[in-house]
Amino acid sequence: MVPVIEFQLDPSSGVATYLQLAQQVRQALRLGLLQVGDQLPTAREVVAKLAINPNTVLKAYRELERERLVGARPGQGTFVLRSLPGPGSVAVAGFSRELNAWITKARAAGFSPDDIEALYRTAMRACFSEGAA
């Protein structure tokens, strides 16, 4: 059987491989490329393409399991349990509108795209490291 999705790696992103895999599954869920009941590629299928360590794939899948997005069926594989709101959903649209308004405001105040990205990254780091502590 041909897997529903195929993973790709961006070695220059600096993002850990297992996180890249998990992100690609979430993105596929948002875009509707993966639907409830679909099987994720097996670890063997993924490593046969990407030449990565099989533990990395299993780690990505465990992360998605913790989020209850997928579930492992012993002896069969890992399957999608639920979907994620796509770009068209009401919740996403609201945040997207607020973010657009904020970026417009920052730009009007004279911030360059680099400045804005730096601000965003710093804020992300601050919020998520607080959450982790």
Binding site: V47, A48, N53, P54, T56, L58, K59
Partner: protein
């Protein structure tokens, strides 16, 4: 949990020259371990000691819990040497048949399956194959043995990028399929960072660093900030590599705590930066201080 390779005080001397000395390490099983270091650091010597091709001058090595030359060890361990010795006048099929005669439990289907899929002509003489195809034949012989531990000495050096990728794909597929332990030496950090979850760094005939890659990447950071305040960082953390300008300090550190000084920005380190930093500082031998290896995350199959 058993270890793939365990050495205590292992050393090997050629005349007055030590090719390997004071090597004590414990490589967990079920992992893919990368062996890195400059040429002449002792990587090949360590691998040859582990498969029993060399006898130690000092110390001891145990493989899967037993001496490397014990018959029960030999049946569980496979080794692909750097020059990939094959009989050039044998056909691929003959080579695999020989593998079957020499190794009880040899799996012809596994061995020929990969080769057939990659389009390696089974009736061709090995000497007429491309370098990439010969490497695949050597790998097929090794994995056909169904080893618990596979050691490879620079298996992808001299291969073109496509052949290299195909070699690593088959290797990783076999790891996924069987859960075998792998130890391979390489200079190609991209392959190492994709394939390895454990890293051994060697320099000047000694082990410099030996740890799970995830732990290594978690504890090392690159920190940039004013030179005048660098002491706040250097007094708290271990500095692996430092470069200073009159105003700016650029430090690769092993962090002992989160870097909180707002004057400094910290970012994660890549495996390449980490390896290069240690290789350029052969005296930064701080391996023993790294916290105990986390219990291996098992491959659940």
């Amino acid at each position: 949990m058993t270890t793939a390779i365990e050495t205590t005080g292992l050393g090997r001397r050629y005349g007055r020259h030590w090719a390997l000395r004071e090597c004590s390490l414990s490589l967990p099983s079920g992992r893919v371990t990368g062996l890195v270091g400059p040429n002449g650091a002792g990587k090949t010597t360590l691998l040859h000691l582990a498969v029993g091709l060399l006898a130690p001058s000092t110390g001891e090595v145990r493989v899967l819990g037993a001496p490397p030359r014990a018959p029960e060890t030999r049946s569980k361990v496979a080794f692909v040497a750097q020059d990939k010795p094959l009989y050039p006048r044998f056909t691929v099929t003959d080579t695999l048949r020989m593998g079957g005669w020499l190794n009880p439990g040899f799996d012809q289907e596994v061995a020929s399956g990969h080769l057939a899929r990659l389009g390696v002509p089974l009736h061709e003489r090995v000497g007429r194959l491309s370098g990439g195809q010969q490497a695949q034949v050597a790998l097929a012989l090794a994995v056909g043995k169904r080893p618990q531990l596979l050691l490879l000495d620079e298996p992808v050096a001299n291969l073109d990028p496509l052949a290299r990728r195909e070699f690593m794909q088959v290797l990783m597929e076999e790891v996924a399929e069987t859960g075998m332990s792998v130890v391979f030496s390489s200079h190609l950090i991209e392959d190492l960072s994709r394939a390895c979850d454990y890293l051994v760094l060697m320099s000047q005939s000694r082990i410099q660093l030996s740890a799970c890659t995830e732990d290594l990447l978690a504890v090392h950071q690159i920190v940039t900030g004013p030179s005048s305040h660098a002491e706040t960082i250097t007094s708290t953390h271990t500095v692996v590599r430092a470069s200073y300008t009159a105003r700016q300090a650029n430090l690769l550190i092993r962090a002992r705590a989160p870097v909180t000084d707002p004057a400094f920005t910290a970012r994660p380190v890549t495996l390449e930066e980490l390896v290069l930093a240690y290789m350029s500082q052969p005296d930064a031998a701080i391996a023993p201080a790294l916290r105990a290896v986390r219990s291996a995350t098992e491959v659940s199959r």
